[in-house]
Each structure stands twice: as C-alpha cells, then as structure tokens.
Assembly symmetry: C2
Homo-oligomer: 586 residues x 2
Amino acid sequence: MTGADYIAEFLWKKGIREVFLITGGACAFIVDAIGRHKRLKYKCFQHEQAAAMAADASWRVHGKVGVTVVTSGPGATNLITGIACSFFDSIPTLHITGQVNQNEKLNYQGSRVRQAGFQETKIVEMVKPITKYAVQVTSGKQLIKELPKAFERALGPRMGPVLIDIPMDVQKENVGRRIILGSHPQEFKSASEFKKAKKQISRFFAKTERPLVLLGAGSGLSGGTKKILTWAKTNRLPFVASWNALTYFDHRMKNYFGHIGVYGNRGSNFLIQNCDRLLVLGSRLDNRQRSGNSSNFARNAKILAVDVDGEELKKYKNNSHFVKGIRADLKSANQLLPKIKWNDKKQIWEHFCLLMKKKYFGKNPSIFCAKNKSLSPYDVVKKINSFCKQNAVVIADDGANLCWVFQAFLCSSQKLFTAGGNSPMGYSFPAAIGAAFYLPKAQILAFTGDGSMQMNIQELQTLRHHRLNVKVIILNNFGYGIIKQFQDLYFGGRYHATGHGYSQPDFGKVASAYNIKYKRISTLSDLKKADFVKRGPMIFDITLDPNTQIEPKLELGRSLEDQYPYLSQQEYKQGMSFVPSNRRNL
Amino acid sequence: MTGADYIAEFLWKKGIREVFLITGGACAFIVDAIGRHKRLKYKCFQHEQAAAMAADASWRVHGKVGVTVVTSGPGATNLITGIACSFFDSIPTLHITGQVNQNEKLNYQGSRVRQAGFQETKIVEMVKPITKYAVQVTSGKQLIKELPKAFERALGPRMGPVLIDIPMDVQKENVGRRIILGSHPQEFKSASEFKKAKKQISRFFAKTERPLVLLGAGSGLSGGTKKILTWAKTNRLPFVASWNALTYFDHRMKNYFGHIGVYGNRGSNFLIQNCDRLLVLGSRLDNRQRSGNSSNFARNAKILAVDVDGEELKKYKNNSHFVKGIRADLKSANQLLPKIKWNDKKQIWEHFCLLMKKKYFGKNPSIFCAKNKSLSPYDVVKKINSFCKQNAVVIADDGANLCWVFQAFLCSSQKLFTAGGNSPMGYSFPAAIGAAFYLPKAQILAFTGDGSMQMNIQELQTLRHHRLNVKVIILNNFGYGIIKQFQDLYFGGRYHATGHGYSQPDFGKVASAYNIKYKRISTLSDLKKADFVKRGPMIFDITLDPNTQIEPKLELGRSLEDQYPYLSQQEYKQGMSFVPSNRRNL
C-alpha cells in the first residue's frame, strides 16, 4: 500500500465512514486513495472552513471522530476557524493536510525563507494553540506511528482536534500492508484514588442544606451523563446545566432546574446564587457562565469542581469559594459519586427550587416584542420546538440567534448544540450539513442569523447537490442584533457596521437560485409543521424587528442574578431568599 | 482620546482612507471610533477572509498599506488565509484584531486553559509564521508605541503583513492626544557597500556573451522597476520576468522576452537555459520558476541574485550555479547597477533572443482546443485584454484560470496580479472588490474559476451593495481543471472530487439573485467590448470544455525548457542552440 492507501484503510478500520474534503495538488493522492477505497466515502464541500465545521458535528451527533482532508497552504489555513470550534468545545476531530514534496525544500540549505515549496505553509506550527496534537510526518514509517497516536490524543481526555500534515512523497511511499490501529486511552485514576474522591464529595455535601449540581458538557463528552443523572435523581439532588450540557439529557426531568449564565434562565441563576454547595461536573465555568463579575458567582456557596483537565482546576486555586477540585474522567461517575444523606432542612430548599422553576422555567417573555407588537423569536423557537421529532438535531449559530434558541428550546431526546467556545458566525449551517451526512434519516435544523448565514452561504450548493434533509432557519434581525444591543447600551445607538454599512441579500432569491424551497415568516401562524417534517432542504427567513432584544441578559459588571430587564425589588428579593440582605444588590 | 479613537486618528494620519471590517463584540469600540472619525471610512465585508484579501490588494493597486479591523476568535482566525497571501508575496498590510478584556483572564492564575475569555484565541501566536510582526498590546502606552512600530515593520524591507491584537480595555483606555507616527525605514547599505556591489555586478557581466536579467516582484515592490528597466535598455540587456513582476512594466518593451517558469513562455524558458549569465533582481526563484528539477535551471549560466532578504540568498550557498548574492533594496537600483561594455559576440545572442521572441512571445496556441474545436481560454483572455483600458486592474485567481491569464495577458499600463505564493482559491474576487474601493474610477477585472468563485461567493452582496465597477470573469471548466490535468497524468483520469462529487451552482441564477448582470459566453463573438467598458458589476460565465488544458506546462521531473505539449526534436534543438548536445534532453 502507498501512504495514501494506508490512510484510507486506517480510517475505515477506525470506524470512519465519511471524509469531508476539498481536493488540491498536495492532497490529490489521498483523495484518490479514498475514492478508490471500496467502502470509505467522501463528500465535497465548497470551502474548507465548512468542511471542518461539518466534521466538528460528527462527535456531537453520533460519537465518532470527524475527519477532513485538504491540501497545503490555503486549504489547510481555511480549516482553522473550524478546528478552533472543536478545540474549545473538546470535540475530537482529525484533520489531514497534504503538504508539498519534502524535496522541494531540501535545497533550501536550512535558510529561513518565508516559503519553500509552492503553497508551503507552516500549518503545524500555526494550529498548535488550537489542537491537542499536530505533527508533520516525514516518512511512511512515521505515518504508521502517528495516525493511531493522533487518534488516541483526539479521544484521550480531555478530547480535542488533531492535525497530521503529510508531504506528497509520504503519500506515495510504499508502506507495506500491516495496519496499526492503536488503542483507546485508559482511565488514569486508581481504585484508591476513586475511593478518596468519593469520600471528598461525601464530605462536601455532609452538612449542606441547599445543595446544587451543575452539569457541564464534560458529563456528556465522557459518556457519564446517564450515570450522573441517575445518581442525582436517587439522591434527590437538584441540578442546573451549562449550555453545552443541554444536548445530553431530557429537559423534562423533575430535578432539572434550567441553564445558567449571562443569558441563562433567571430561576437557575437564582439557584446558583442561593445554594450553599455547588458540585460542578465537567464544566469549565467560563465567563459566559460565571459572568465577568466572577467573584459574585455562587457567592453563598462552597464549590467543588470535577474536571478531566487539571489546568481547568488550577485556575480556582486562589478563589476562596472553591475547595480543592477533583481531576477525574466523568465516564467513571459511578466510582466517584457517593450516596448522600440529607438534613431535614433541605426540604425548604427543594420548595424554593420548585418555586423558581414554576416562575421562570420554560417562560420566555419578550418585553421588547410585547411592547413593539413584533414577532418574538422565543415564540418562534418554541413553536419550532413543538415540530421537532425525537431524532431531531438542532444547531444554533452565534450571537442573538444562539441566545434565543438556547434560552427557549427544550429537549426531550433531540440533540441541541452550538460551537460554544469559539462561537463563529456561520457554524450551524455547515454543521447541519455534516449532521445530515452522518445521520441521513434525522430531522436537522440549523438556526442562524442573517449575517451568519452569509459566512458559509456557498454551502447551499452542497445542500442542494445532495438534497440533504436540512431546514435552515434564519432569525433575521437585519444585521448583527447582539452588537446592536451592545451599541444601544454603550454607543448611544450608533449602529456602525451593523445598521449602517451592513447589508444582506434577498435570501428568497438566493434560495431560488440554488433551487431550494424558501418561506418568509412574519407571523407565528406562517410556521407550519408540515414544512418541518417533510424531507429535503428548506430555508425559513423569519423577519424580526431589527432591534429585537435578548432577554434576559446580564450587563457588564452586574452579578449573575441581576439580569436585564430588571426585576422589581420584591421579585428580586424573593429570588435571593437565602442571601443575607447585605449581600444582595437591591 | 481613547485607544480606539487613537487608532482611527493614527490610521488617518498614516494616509489610510478606508478600513475593511466586520464588527463584533471585541472590536466594537474601534469600529465605533472609525465610524465617528470625520474622514476615515470603513467598508463592511461578509467574511473576514474576503476583507483580508481585499486589503492585500491595497499595496498592489495604489501603494498604500491595506488595513482590516475584526473581532477576536473566529473574526481573527478568518483573516489567516488572506494574511498568508500578503506574507508570501511581500505585501504590507495591517490587521487589527479586537481581543477580550484583560481582566477576563486575570483570575485564571496562570493556568494553561484552552480558553479564558469568551472567544479568546491566541491569534498572535498563530499568525507568527505568516506575519513580519504580531503583538498583543496590554496598555494604551504600548498601543502608542506598537502602532508605528508595526507600520515600520510592514513597510521595512522585506515588506509583509503585521497584526496587532488589542484588548477591549486598551480600546477604552484614555491615551492622551499626542499621535506618534514613527518613521519610514531607511536603506541599510553604506556608500562603500554600494560601490562594492556595483563592482561585483560589473565583474559578473565582464566576459559574458549571453547575458540575461530576470526581473522579480522585488523590483516593483521596492519601487525600483523604472530605474532597472532604463538601465537594462541603455545597456542593451534582454530581460525576462517572474509572474509577480508582470504588473510593473510595459510588456511591449523591446528588450522584454517574456515570463518564465513551469507555466512560463517557452521562448523565455529557452533563454534561461541558454544564457551564460543570469542577473536575478528581486525574485525568490521559487519552485514554480526553477521547477522541482531546480538543478537544471539556467544550467549553462552563472547566476547572481540581488535580494533584500538575506535568507533568500542563503538558500543558494551550496549551489554551484550561483555566485555570492547581493543583499540590497532595489529602490537603490541606481547605486547598484553599473555601466556594462559588451563583447561583440553578444549580437549572436541578441539575434537568438529575437528569434525566440518571434516564435513564442504572445503566441498562445491551445492544441487541445484546436483538436476539440472548443473555446480556447487563451483567445478569451486575449480578447478581453483588447478591451482593457489603460487604468485597468486585472486580477487572476489560482489553478488553471491563473495560468491562462498570466500566460496570455499583455500589459501596457494595466495592473496584473494574483496572490502568487499562497494562491488560494477565491482570492481574485474579494481582491477586486478591494481594488474597486481603493480606485473607484478604474476598470477592475477579476478572473476566476467555477470552484474558486464559490469560495467567496458571499461577497456578491458587497459588490451589489456598493455597485462596484468589477467584472467577474469565470473561466468555467466545471471543476478544478488543474487537478483534472494532474489526475489525467497520474491517476488514469479518475476524477475524484473534481469531475465526481464536485458541483457548481447556476451562476446566472445566483447573479440574478444578487441583482447583478450576467452573461454566459460560449463563443468568442459573445464577448462584447461594450460590456467591459460600461460601469458597474457584471459576471461573465465562460463555458470551456471541462478538460481544457494548460499549455505549455512542465511535468514533474522535466527540466524547464522541456514543457508539454512536447516539441519536435528539431524545434527543441533550435531552442537549445547554445547548450552542448550532451546537456540537452533530446
């Protein structure tokens, strides 16, 4: 086998069924090998960025490593924004970049020129800050060694993207026939360490009256969610969730009390601020959760974080709210989580949790839309939510549309995700294309904005070519709504580069050019279930008031429970029942 | 002034008139400051990649530094492919990226987490391999110091792109009112060094009978082309050119004998192989010029290279064809280039040069199209060439369309360029948009391919919104022609991911969706001058045979003069007149 044939067969044996790619000179041998492979398939995209985002969806929709193959130089650099999505959200992906023949630079005598071979680019160096592992192989022997290693690194805790750069001469090299698959990384804790951790959690909850669990994405990425939620239910523990955890459980669970954060549910944020013990399972508690004013986060509680990444725990070391964290992989949740006995006073807390849930959970009023008599994006999301099949994959993009979807959508068994940490404009549409390739029978919905839709609009061709079962829902606020809300607040409503200077195409005409069904929605009753359950692509252009707001939203400097639109003093007080009055804001 | 105001005023005082941008949270203060600036203008793009490519066109069309402003994370990483265009082609550009507030990571205690602030990305580290200078500023004081420094680095020899990453708190900081502009970098050679270099060139040509000058892009980037060409004319020196030099002179010059390289003119390549002295002025002699078989390049000659970048000269140190190079900025060409006296035998060489020119210069036969009775892209380019005004800016993309345009287009005073070293798909269209913003009165032509057009197709909205005077010419060969030619040669015509799997939209319908005039061209007579001289945007979709070839083209391993389609032995012999028969290929 050549190096290129080896790659194709290796991928197949690792369970990969589709590779996303754009061909080019430096990866042509790999593309040809994939093309000649009897079972491995490839799908062509129109821009490498979209291929990387589509591959990022792989783990999120069916738990397999997404793979791209692209050429050197611009082919490789075009992947970068997509790779960053996988890195920040701990998604395992493998990116294979072709590189120029090694002999092209042999006669450069070690001089540090900007470029040796044509389109030669130091992609490995460039992606180091956003990959778990990136390497250029220089021989067939090294290729055989590095492929399984890269896979192990991608899947080993904490997961993430990897990149292998493969010169053309290695693609052509005869590498023999023996495939080395490597092994899956093992748990890194011993039985005695597990025992110790279990004791620590037990002690943590020993005297608590107001316990709370925060479920993070790590619970799902590790495969531990089910064990954790069974434990939480058995032990009568209320839990809230981070946005990236929302895809892993049924939101109708009785002990689930909503998602937290800057754009989180008011009720859940109140629980965070009132609890006395917060157990964080697999969440990095980023600034969109703890807010910029992070010292106020869970300010009446002790916090214990369990994370697979020791660096994430180190950051708490001088924060007096945090007790020493536990480094562990939550796939071993059973070995970590103890049986807990509660104090009788906990019933008061349970009562409060239910009150907060009753008041705020699943409620998504838009004061702005009510006042302006305009279409509420929350009502749109809820109505579309009701059209969703059990197998639906719902992907949100960034900015306002992301907030609206994540604030209002409730999952039963649907998948719901976004590229949370990187949050690029234009992620959801190519990710939906990827999801549709991986799960051709599923109902796939991509929520996006009018600005974001333009970022990867070229992929309408991919959508149309394969007639994929993707519904694109543009929550059209006529230009970067989340920035307009920021401009209202800080720039006296000067809409530079949003209201002014920005423009959008007629999406109806664009859809028609690509022969894709299109519907403009201006009232709730325009949304018909039939459109959403029928197979095939369709675009919904939902026209909102250009200034439609995200509600609630935490403004800079405020503490987590004090979101805009501001509550009455009475309502605020009720939400802060367990917080001494000198530690409240109002 | 705030840091943001300072940036706007600094740019204006540095002669910048337009900034290309997409707004976002982390750059919103800078965008607002530019918006409030009385004279500095901004233009919104639909994807940062396009903004970077448009900015790259700035120096190429009017000798000013192109500037972008984008937000952190994906905004910044989206620039990368465009920045690489500037780096490999020595184009000065300035990229300003917003970054999250520094306090967002203050409480991370130095832990090495993947991401601290929302959308925080190590952009400075990532672009180091493709920028001359990249820095994150941490205070207003540092901003004031780094802005002029970055400008100087961008413009200092060898030019290139720079990036400054500016946290939001620095954008908001009060930095006072005094603007520090910095100075333009000075020449680095002393008078005695110039004298020595002059002597060296004099000696180099002392006994030559077959001298040749190769004009590289450095001659033009330095501003030295005019001086060089006056010198060459006065001293009766024949010259050939690299592709990136073609934009700097009138191709009708009598002592110009064509462009060289893998896809170069046969006649010019013969001159390279027959000359006994080759003076290389500002060309890095990359592998598309010297070919993969670079030891055969100018194999009967001594070569003397003048380059501003010492690293480019170092690479020749063990190559016996090269004499010690001269490190100098060609803007000082007058001080470098000596008067030369010729041997009488030189007339034989002049006669040969003229013969090669007569046979090959401006001749662009397509044996493929003649045989298939299909439309020749060469005839298309020549006809459009005849429609070009003196102020036209002609930009080619990559792959086959690039080759066809550069092989056949002859400039008088037009500008003709491409992103030569990086050569991404999709460069020419956004670069043309940039050119049209910078030179609103010029006739702007963007040649591209059907695959490449899709890469930045979102910018049709920018084109339409501003009704820019850009003609987009799609040389449509239905999928990655240059790769198909490669697949014919090495993969027995298996068209994976080119003929098979790849698809394209109906460009006519897409143009119409964006309200842009469109014309499908299937014969030469469909091309009308009136369409090209009329103001406003228009798309020409030129349908070629899917297998249309690039002719001539050097195949792997061959030496420079031995291009496909292969010449008869007799014709080859004539071209190699001065090469001893034992050093010819046939």
